[in-house]
């Protein structure tokens, strides 16, 4: 059997059989699933927490019946009760809290208080302040003696949602969602950063292990050092891909099981309806469908889904895989060179800095990219090979001109070849050097050795 493939096999098998690998592989999807499922559970549990709120107004009854009840809160307007009467006894009387409206409310913004034992949810507060604001506005407008005020108000009650439509060269318009693109950019950029760092560091630790356990000289008397280095890098890449594949499958499986068992059926029905109604959702007029809040929500979901489908998934996946493999190769070879130059992990610090700075810089620029994907910083960082894997995957959901992608990829490939060549030279000398602290000057000498 080919010796490099023997090395790859060993690197792969010993890592995949480790307890820590199995535990990590099984636990991570559980955690990921929790992240998806818990918010859904919290949302579906809201109904149970019904709140009754007492409303007390100082000097007047301007706001009687102004705050409409919602599905999880009821507002009881109490007359002939003062705040001090109920302040200490409201919870015994079955109220969640007391809403106190002072008579200064039309002039002073903070003249409204909600007294409760627990921290009230944001949604409830929004509901109250929206209702009150609207009523105060109405009351103030009343002072201008406008006829049919209520009808006018109803007809001008409007809601604005910005729909972004991109026009490509052929003039075809495409509905996109900046939200989706941002989410994608964030996930891809961060994932890339994590994977490259995690598996790159594993390569480094592997090299140090071989060096400190002194097995390396035995092995390089049978194989070339560059074979050992590449075998390790490829083996660990395969471990990463395996783990990744298992994570995706397990996460999907867990989410599916949990949703079908725990979530109310209504939610699932809603979810199932989305793709069906997708065909009818034409990207012509948006927001036309008024009506029940549920229907509005549905349209929002539909348009979100539609613009998600409008992303160029093929390109995104291809770019992600390309930049993962090349970015990993680039950094793993640098990490391997560092590992070969030191005697133990604590000595890696001085050499880690120049390698970690571009990775972290890449991540920072990638996060900024979401605000402004066309900025010149984003452009340059997505072209320069050390940061391009992270920045380019974050830019691609916002549509990047093909020539930029091609240039970035070509530069990446050239850099990898140069980087592996350089790393192999350092590695070859470094793994046989024991006991003396390595300096940059020393490494430069290793690079210029011939043979």
């Amino acid at each position: 059997m080919n010796k490099t493939s023997l090395i790859i096999q060993r690197e792969y098998v010993t890592r995949v059989r480790k307890k820590s690998f199995i535990i990590m592989t099984l636990l991570t999807p559980l955690l990921l699933a929790l992240i998806f499922v818990v918010p859904a559970l919290v949302m579906s549990n809201n109904d149970k927490d019904f709140k009754k709120i007492a409303v007390i107004e100082d000097g007047g009854d301007l706001f009687k019946g102004v705050i409409p009840d919602t599905k999880d809160a009821e507002f009881v307007y109490l007359t002939n009760t003062s705040l001090s009467d109920i302040k200490s006894t409201f919870s015994e009387k079955g109220y969640y809290g007391v809403l106190y409206i002072s008579d200064l409310v039309t002039t002073v913004p903070n003249a409204v208080q909600l007294i409760s034992k627990k921290q009230p949810p944001i949604g409830l507060l929004d509901h109250i302040s929206n209702s009150l604001e609207k009523e105060i506005e109405r009351q103030k407008l009343l002072g201008y003696n406008i006829e049919n005020l209520d009808e006018i108000l109803k007809s001008i009650n409007s809601k604005v949602e910005i729909q972004t439509i991109k026009i490509d060269e052929e003039g075809k318009s495409k509905k996109t969602s900046t939200g989706i693109a941002m989410g994608l950019a964030y996930i891809s950029g961060f994932l890339m950063y994590m994977l490259v760092f995690m598996f790159g560091a594993q390569v480094m630790r592997g090299v140090i292990e071989e060096k400190t356990s002194r097995i390396v000289e035995v092995i390089i008397s049978s194989v070339k050092p560059v074979q050992l280095m590449l075998g390790k890098i490829i083996g660990i890449a395969l471990v990463g891909l395996t783990q990744f594949a298992i994570w995706i499958m397990l996460t999907l499986a867990i989410v599916a099981v949990v949703q079908s068992k725990i979530l109310p059926e209504k939610t699932i029905e809603q979810m199932q309806q989305i793709p069906q109604s997708l065909g009818q959702a034409e990207p012509s007029v948006a927001g036309a469908s008024a009506g029940t809040p549920a229907a509005t929500q549905m349209t929002q979901l539909q348009s979100l889904f539609a613009s998600a489908m409008n992303q160029r998934w093929g390109l995104i996946i291809f770019a992600f895989v390309f930049y993962f493999i090349t970015g990993y190769l680039l950094y793993a070879s640098l990490f391997a060179a560092i590992g070969s130059a030191v005697d133990n992990e604590t000595e890696t610090q001085q050499f880690m800095l120049p390698v970690t700075i571009p990775i972290i810089l890449g991540l920072i620029v990638a996060m900024g990219t979401m605000q402004n994907p066309e900025s010149s910083i984003s452009f340059w960082f997505s072209i320069i090979p050390l940061t391009s894997p992270i920045v380019m995957v974050a830019r691609i959901p916002f549509d990047v001109p093909a020539w930029e992608i091609a240039l970035s990829m070509a530069l990446m490939l050239v850099t990898i070849v140069a980087c592996i060549w350089m790393a192999a030279k350092i590695y070859r000398t470094g793994i046989l050097m024991y006991g003396k602290k390595t300096s940059y000057k020393e490494i430069w000498k290793w690079l210029t050795y011939k043979g």
Partner: protein
Amino acid sequence: MPLFEAQNVTKRFATQTALDGVSISVPEKSIYGLLGPNGAGKTTLIRIINQITAPDSGRVMLNGRPIKPEDVYKIGYLPEERGLYKKMKVGEQALYLAQLKGLTRAEAMRRLRYWFKKLEITDWWGKKVEELSKGMQQKVQFATTVLHEPQLLIFDEPFTGFDPINVRQIKDEILFLREKGATIIFATHNMGSVEELCDNITLINKAKTILEGRVDTIRQEWAGNEFDVVFDGEVTPSGNAHFSVIRSQFEKGRSNVRIKAADTRDTNEIIRSMTAAGTVIAFNPALPSMNDIFIRVVETKNSEAAKN
């Protein structure tokens, strides 16, 4: 034809010269000692033989031809800095190393069974390396070094970390391998084992060869003018114009006496004085130990260098 030859090999690193025109010639089926103080250049020479590093100049020949990459299969190397993957199981690891040396898995398995049994380490097959004592690990390494039946075996300090019983066992195995036709290069500081095992030696000091040849010839050359005399019973000869007594020891009914001759051509005169003193059982030139020779040669060279 020698099995292995290094001709005029020179290797320089950035600041120092590790080997300066060193030549060695290892006859087939012999044990060749590569001696020298720390930092003399032994390890560099061994790495050149293993093609881990390339010489700046000079030729390295195996079987009369310049050495080539495939020749790693014909060489077995036990480095001084040796180790195993600590978390890997012994058997798996031995199989892996054997496969890297070009054996098939099945063949490696068959030979490993034989060697593990011979070295009495079969019980450790399924254990992790970190659970083994240092001596046990060394045995595993020894087995993986010789497993692919290489023509040329290189042992760099093979006895460090072994107890005396295991040292005996490994020595026997090395001699057995030579019987079976292997040629062995043996790098060490342990001069006792050099006298016991080596046929030829090269002594390297400060990147240069300072002594080489057959072990017995070298010892005779360095013998000087001392003789060992054994008498029956307690006898102490008194020195005269021809010789002086260096030391005398009575043990188990015999006297062992070391004398120094004034002139080695006078041996007949000396023997007459001995027979006059008592019953002579043996009269031999005193061979210096390799240890003495090593120290004397290296110190002479170093003081010469200091003078220049």
